[in-house]
């Protein structure tokens, strides 16, 4: 898993100043286009209820109503949704990182009959649309009595963590010199010990990549919670926001500005995580494209 330089090369002498200025202007205009929806949402979330439906629109509210934000928590069980999302995503990410490491280790370092076939099947599962397995899986969880609990959302992650994560970690282990393992075997180390003390410490960047990607996708997941969760107190943030969106206003109580505040609070954590762990996330995405 070679490190990929994501910082572009330095400007070539060929790009002249006027050309560069044009590029900057174009790129900045694109930023405005991409960021405007965020700006509009944030601005709406700070408006007074009476200023929301005004035409022509108020771009920046005169008074910033920060107290819209605490009101969200009174109107809907927002802190419960948030906590549920955190529980699901943390348990899911832990499960993926732990179990995918074990399986990737098996694929990368052990020779056994059927390994190649198993690996090809694993890659094949990436092509399978989730729609095919969703209904029987739903019936299975229904049979187990786990509908309307968080278990169906995080428990499957503990069984291998999915083909993509296994594949990514396997490729990474293959890039580590096999002599490390062999030296440890000569010293009498068990396989579990080799994985724990030698490989896992070296795999930290790849594990971080897997963790960050799963965290972001888990936080944004909608279909899973939509299918499995039925009562509002069990919702994750994604289905909670949608529930808030389709709940009719109480007469005389406009809530669009509060809905926008809820959207901001649901999006900010994921953007913050991205800023902190950007390097790992970007590398994971890029590797999926280069090696996949």
């Amino acid at each position: 898993m070679a490190t990929i330089a994501l910082t572009p090369r330095l400007a070539t002498p060929r790009s002249r100043l006027p050309g560069r200025i044009v590029t900057y202007v174009g790129m900045t205009m694109l930023v405005v286009l991409f960021i405007f929806p965020f700006f509009w949402t944030a601005a709406s979330s700070l408006k007074a209820a009476s200023d929301v439906y005004i035409y022509p629109p108020i771009w920046i509210p005169g008074v910033l109503r920060w107290d819209n934000y605490p009101q969200v928590f009174q109107l809907v069980p927002y802190s419960t949704w948030f906590a549920n999302s955190v529980i699901v995503v943390v348990l899911q990410t832990l499960g993926v990182v732990i179990s995918a490491s074990l399986v990737a280790y098996s694929f990368a370092r052990f020779r056994y009959p059927g390994r190649e076939l198993l690996f090809l099947i694993t890659l094949g599962t990436m092509m399978l649309p989730a729609e095919v397995t969703l209904i029987p899986t739903y019936l299975l969880f229904k049979y187990l009595g786990w509908l309307n609990t968080l278990k169906p959302l995080w428990l499957p992650a503990w069984f291998g963590g999915g083909a993509f994560n296994i594949f990514l970690l396997r490729q990474f282990i293959l890039s580590l010199p096999h002599e490390l393992d062999e030296a440890a075997i000569v010293d009498g180390a068990s396989y579990a010990r080799i994985l724990w003390s030698i490989l896992l410490p070296l795999m930290k960047p790849a594990l971080a990549t897997v963790a960050v990607i799963n965290f972001i996708y888990g936080w944004n997941d909608f279909l899973g919670p939509l299918v499995y969760l039925t009562s509002p107190e069990n919702f994750t943030l994604a289905v909670g926001l949608r529930y808030f969106d389709v709940t009719p206003n109480q007469p005389g109580v406009p809530q669009l500005h509060l809905l926008m505040a809820a959207v901001v609070m649901g999006t900010v954590p994921i953007i913050a995580l991205f800023f902190i762990a950007q390097r790992y996330f970007v590398e994971g995405v890029v590797l999926s494209g280069i090696k996949g």
């Binding site: 019936l139 069984f159 949608r242 959207v263 999006t267 970007v282």
Partner: protein, 322 residues
Amino acid sequence: MVQIVTRPGRDAPVPRPWVRRVGLGSPARVREAIWGYIFAIPWLVGLLVFIVGPILASLVLSLTKYDVITPPRFIGLTNYVTAFTGDDLFWGSLQRTFEYAVVVVPVGLSGALFLALLLNRGLAGTNLFRTLYFLPSLTPAVAAGILWQWLFDPSVGPINFLIGSLGLPKPGWLASPAWALPAVILISLWGIWGGNNMLIFLAGLQGVPKELHDAAAVDGAGHWSQFIHVTLPMISPTIFFNLVLGIIGALKIFSLAYVATQGGPAYATWFFALHIYRSAFGYFQMGYASALAWIFALILMIFTVIQVRLANRWVYYAGGNS
């Protein structure tokens, strides 16, 4: 999608012929194999319980009528026949899904490539631009659906305000049967242009050796000519990868449409995945929905196979075709 290493790179000691014939002859090899299976147990179980089992169950269910309450009843291929001949929304939802994909995939990918080319010029501050372009794709589909409902509000939304101030007629966007599909396409493009595709293109562009461009420039090739004859062929594996995943992703559109329009108005954004979802979890026609899911899976497979076949004609692997 360069190449998949299916064999670990441990060609070190070539096994002597007699060892190879005996296979797992030595005790050490038996031990290794046993531990290999042990570490794979989580996935072996997961594969059986969450993938292979459900695949078989889904195949069987698709041949039954099952409403969750009464036991499933075997009805042969009736579900499939019904889908093709007796379901008013089947062909319509397929058509809408393809209309969506036909626009979103080419426009999305070329936009992503364009942004990647801009970012690859090596100007100062590129990392900041890259991050800002990427933010829309991080936005949860639900959040995107909700905030764009508000941006697209026909009477007081900012987009129609801008269109109105240019003196143009204001579309009804998500509330209008004619404009809902274009609106959903625009929302998707907002997330696709600066998203994963752009990052993958950027990495692909950075893998193009500078010497090739220099050589082409010496031969008198201009920027455009270099782009067509050097850049595009060199990044064709990246284009191929993005294309395969892009088509699959577009055909699977669900969450955004479910939140932004709920498939309406007048089924204008009733995509195939919504049709499956409602059959299963709205009407609890589990057998019929399973049949729809298999038809969907077959369509995705056919598209992928066609692309892999066609790839030989236009994808260039610098390291030799594998």
